[in-house]
């Protein structure tokens, strides 16, 4: 009886508390731009996955008799390039390349950045060394670090993935370190430590889950940067090599035909802009939904 008196809600259905995931999703869906971004990303994913079924030609199939057909041509609604390759096919397969490179480089960059950030934030002895390395990597503006890595490894799409992954590490490490520093002084972490929990357990089970919000936002915005950088490097001839249907490389190829076939440049450019815009607005929306005070200037 006494225990029942102490638990007045026993037997009653407890009020369902909305999970953070649900709350974030609800807030995100209220943001019109973010919804637009989500739709674009979803469409790109569908294009990437279903590529072989939604195009009538392979992206490298040449037909010189059909070269430089304009938009709206019969059988090639987005026209063809100077080799007579179907622009729609190349655009769809390009979506696959950009998504694959974006996701792979972000995942590898996150793995490196999270590990370094956790170690630097948790172990004071490692902090100085790791953060000096991070500072050193930050000393290279924008795309320069990626170019240095490509200069070292050689020009190819795989090397672009490696370069962009390494470029993503310092930003992620800095964000994770910041989160770890604020979380590790919380009472529940001190309690776990006093109960004898191992460092690995504390880091992986108690600290990392509390850093997920900034990591998710960083990853989304990093996707935009990765896709943009991949196309920029391919445009410069340092990434995807012909005849790979990569959007940046397509723009570079189209430059020589700007007078006769401007669609060769316009179409892939709009695709890059839309996808990068989509990841940026979803990243912005996620930041607002998760925590508007997050700082992602780095």
């Amino acid at each position: 009886m006494a225990s029942e008196a102490l638990q007045p809600n026993v037997g009653k259905k407890p009020k369902k508390r909305e999970s953070q995931l649900l709350q974030t999703t609800r807030k995100l869906l209220k943001n019109k731009l973010a919804v637009f971004g989500l739709i674009v990303i979803l469409l790109q994913m569908i294009m990437a996955v279903t590529a072989p079924w939604i195009v009538s030609y392979t992206p490298i199939e040449q037909s010189l008799s059909d070269a430089e057909l304009g938009i709206g041509s019969e059988g090639h609604w987005l026209g063809t390039d100077n080799y007579g390759r179907d622009m729609w096919s190349r655009l769809v397969y390009g979506a696959r390349v950009s998504l694959l490179v974006g996701v792979t480089s972000v995942v590898i960059g996150l793995a490196g950045g999270i590990t370094l950030g956790l170690l630097a934030g948790y172990y004071k002895k490692l902090d100085g060394l790791i953060m000096r390395i991070v500072d050193l990597l930050f000393a290279f503006p924008g795309i320069l670090l990626a170019m240095l890595i490509i200069a070292m490894l050689g020009t190819s799409l795989i090397n672009v993935v490696i370069a962009i992954s390494i470029w993503s590490i310092p930003g992620c490490a800095r964000i994770v370190r910041g989160s770890v520093l604020s979380v590790k002084k919380q009472e529940y972490v001190l309690a776990m430590r006093s109960m004898g929990a191992s460092d690995i357990r504390i880091i992986l089970k108690h600290i990392l889950p509390n850093c997920t919000a900034p990591i998710i936002v960083f990853a989304t915005m990093r996707m935009a940067t990765s896709i943009l950088s991949t196309s920029a490097l391919s445009f410069l001839g340092l990434g995807a090599q012909p005849p790979t249907p990569e959007w940046g490389a397509m723009i570079a190829a189209g430059q020589d035909f700007m007078w006769s076939s401007p669609h060769m440049t316009i179409v892939p450019g709009i695709a890059i802009m839309l996808v990068v815009f989509a990841f940026n607005v979803v990243g912005d929306g996620l930041r607002d939904a998760l925590d508007p005070n997050m700082d992602f200037n780095n």
Binding site: A139, P141, A151, L238, T265
Partner: protein, 313 residues
Amino acid sequence: MVSLIVRRFFQLILLLIGISFLVFMSMHIAPGDPASIIGGPTASASDLEAIRESLGLNKPVLVQYVDYLSGILQGDLGYSFQTNQSVADAIMTRFPNTLNLAIASMIVAIIIGVTAGIISAVKQNSWFDVSSTTIALAGISIPNFWLGTMLILLFSVTLQWLPVGGLNAPFYTVEGIKQLILPAITLGTGSAAMIARMSRSTMLEVIRADYIRTAKAKGVRQRGVIWIHALRNAMIPVITVIGVNFGALLGGTIITEQVFAINGVGRLMIDAIAARDFPVVQATVLLVAALFVLVNLIVDIIYALIDPRISYD
């Protein structure tokens, strides 16, 4: 203030040593024997050995690095594998073009970014605010190499108002300004977007502050409140963004120079990467990274000068 400058200066030197070591090592471990690249496919083993000897490539790595560093301090950046030209000379002839482009782009970015940001904040939720905020987001997302190509298509090919590319006339002549307009807009758009976003958000914070309300209550005109009272405080974080963006612009020149066929340091770097011309890659990367950290140092100092509350302890 003096101690801040001295401390930051020493940090800068350490950082520059770190950058030079990283760049040197990257090129050192890169696959490809420099002696074979210089000697070509017909070089015999003794030729290759002689080339290695003359370049000091058979010395220990750290000795090579120290030699390289002392060379830099004396203005010797080595010789191009491709042309055998002095790398320092090659950079010196191209650097003014890169600097002109970066400065012109920054001017474009500041004028567009700060103006749009302030108007957006003052007229919050107006049509101007909504459209400029959306355009700013789009501005960050536009690949600048594509924007450049589109500007060429519109203003050079279709309307024939501006030249397609090149940057050979002095920047103070009409021809020079004409040549700079499209590349500066191309490179400055992304930074303008970021500056606009930052100016808007800081201005919004400032115009809600008590001292602004007081100024208004005292009868100061709206224009006076904005330009005299609010702007100075709102500009502090904006200056940081401008500084960071100037560094990024230096990196961005690499792509823009390629689009507009501008004979600058960025173009030199791209050609060198493709040809595996390591001394040129090393020197150009080092130059851009060094300028980037130097600009960041200057921004830190300006930041502390404007806002005496800031200390970097």
